[in-house]
């Protein structure tokens, strides 16, 4: 028995799945942005060794990196509504957890996940910036936050551009797990579209093409950005 592949079904599945690509990108990019914010805050807390908060941050990073993404989705999906309802009751909000769109759970879970990984990327980036840069910033009258925002962070992110790209790709692939709480993104659409005809292989091949294509696109964009930062990143004493 040979493998029979229905090529035209791959094509029609592709067209169908592309319709939900914006959703897949949304649940990738939004958490990426929040994750970047969380990552920067956590990295600074840990580098400054702010008492107590530092411990909490270390626990957060350890726990999140020590457990799978699918589990984060489940924990948030079950815990967040309970927490929300408890708060709603206490502060007499008219909202109920049923009113929260499911996509919010995905945003929260993915952001928490991305934040933990991102904090380590940013921490190593900040550590790689020469302290002379900070001293120079102080010498022209900048405050510590100004020096961080304008001098240190841009250099830290530039150094770790390849790692941030990997983060984006990991999150893109991870977004397929959103289907576990019935968000119909690319993988979910493949499942549903194939169900009627049982042509799962074709549908998933189409999904693979989409993910791979997006990954290549992200890699391209990164290499263009890299060329731009390389102009100042290469060599030099400063």
């Amino acid at each position: 028995m040979g493998i029979k592949i229905d090529y035209s079904f791959i094509f029609s599945a592709l067209v169908q799945e592309l319709k939900v690509l914006p959703l897949t990108l949304t649940i990738t990019i939004v958490p990426l942005m929040f994750g970047l914010g969380i990552g920067i805050i956590i990295a600074i807390i840990r580098l400054r060794k702010i008492p107590v908060v530092d411990r909490i941050a270390a626990f957060y990073v350890s726990f999140v990196r020590g457990t799978p993404l699918l589990l984060h989705i489940m924990l948030i999906y079950f815990a967040l509504p309970m927490a929300f309802d408890a708060l709603a009751l206490k502060y007499k909000w008219s909202l109920h957890s049923k009113d929260i769109p499911i996509i919010v759970f995905i945003f929260v879970a993915f952001s928490i996940n991305a934040g933990a990984y991102m904090s380590e990327i940013i921490r190593s980036g900040i550590l790689s910036v020469n302290y002379g840069q900070v001293e120079a910033a102080y010498s022209v009258g900048m405050t510590a936050p100004q020096a961080m925002r304008r001098i240190v962070l841009p250099q830290a992110l530039a150094v770790n551009l390849p790692m941030l790209c990997s983060m984006f790709i990991a999150l893109l692939q991870g977004s397929s797990l959103a289907f576990s709480i019935s968000i119909v993104e690319v993988t979910g659409e493949a499942n549903i579209y194939a169900a009627a005809s049982f042509k799962f292989l074709e549908a998933f091949i189409a999904a693979a093409i989409i993910y791979w294509g997006m990954t290549i696109l992200v890699e391209r964009i990164t290499s263009i950005l890299e060329k731009r930062v390389q102009r100042y990143n290469r060599g030099g004493v400063t």
């Binding site: 001293e135 120079a136 304008r150």
Partner: protein, 250 residues
């Protein structure tokens, strides 16, 4: 104009500065000499609090900071009265030459961008770098980088510019252009404190020479007195190694 009173600084158990008193008048060019490890650079860095002294007082232009109990705002105010040129240039490497010079004006002094840009271009022109405005520090030579460093400090219009061994990291053939730039600044009457090993240069620009050893000021005075006719044996020892015998016959 600048008053340092009883400055002490220790790194761990090692006391680097053991009570320094120094006063600098408006427009003076003070050159600090001394063997390595004598605390010259630490003293310079204490003036703008890149190192926080353990004890003592720093006053610039009437603004007095007690090192024992000072807050962030005081340190910031003090720093805004100073500019600094670093041994390793420390130009912001993610910024172009022009942005390096503008940065302090726009971010710290809140000068509108257009005005800051004009002022910065004007200073870079004076220092002969107007062709490199859009270059990144990694794209220009060490001498040019250090001249940008000087322009960056100068642009802030500070009460005093601190030079921390500005030519030590340069190739010998690039030293000249940087010394030339520093001389120009000196001629404009800006107060400067310079840590250097270039004795001839010190003689040339200094209005006052300070000789340090072991965390203390050993001798200070007119360059001619200190370099050509040192009173202290320690100063003579140090200079003997740097100058040919004949140049300071007593």
């Amino acid at each position: 104009m600048i008053q340092l009173k009883n400055i002490h600084k220790s790194f761990g158990k090692h006391e680097v500065l053991k009570g320094i008193d120094l006063s600098v008048q408006q427009g003076e060019v003070v050159v600090i000499l001394g063997p390595s490890g004598s605390g010259k650079t630490t003293l310079l860095r204490c003036i703008n609090f890149l190192e926080r002294p353990n004890e003592g007082e720093v006053a610039i232009d009437g603004f007095n900071v007690n090192c024992r109990h000072c807050c962030k705002e005081e340190i910031l105010t003090l720093r805004k009265k100073t500019g600094m040129v670093f041994q390793h240039y420390n130009l912001f490497k993610n910024k172009t030459v022009l942005e390096n010079v503008m940065e302090g004006l726009v971010v710290a002094q809140k000068i509108p961008r257009e005005i800051a840009q004009q002022q910065s271009i004007h200073i870079l022109e004076k220092i002969g770098l107007n062709e490199k405005l859009k270059a990144y520090p990694s794209e220009i030579s060490g001498g040019q980088q250090q001249r940008v460093g000087i322009a960056r400090a100068l642009a802030l219009n500070p009460k005093v510019i601190l030079f921390d061994e500005p030519t030590s990291a340069l190739d010998p053939e690039l030293v000249g252009e940087v010394l030339q730039a520093i001389k120009r600044v000196a001629r404009e009457g800006i107060t400067m404190i310079v840590v250097t090993h270039e004795i001839d240069f010190a003689l040339d620009i200094a209005t006052k020479v300070v000789f340090m050893d072991g965390g203390l000021i050993v001798e200070q005075g007119m360059p001619d007195e200190v370099i050509s006719h040192p009173k202290e044996e320690r100063t003579r020892q140090f200079l003997r190694r740097l100058l040919p015998e004949t140049s300071f016959s007593i």
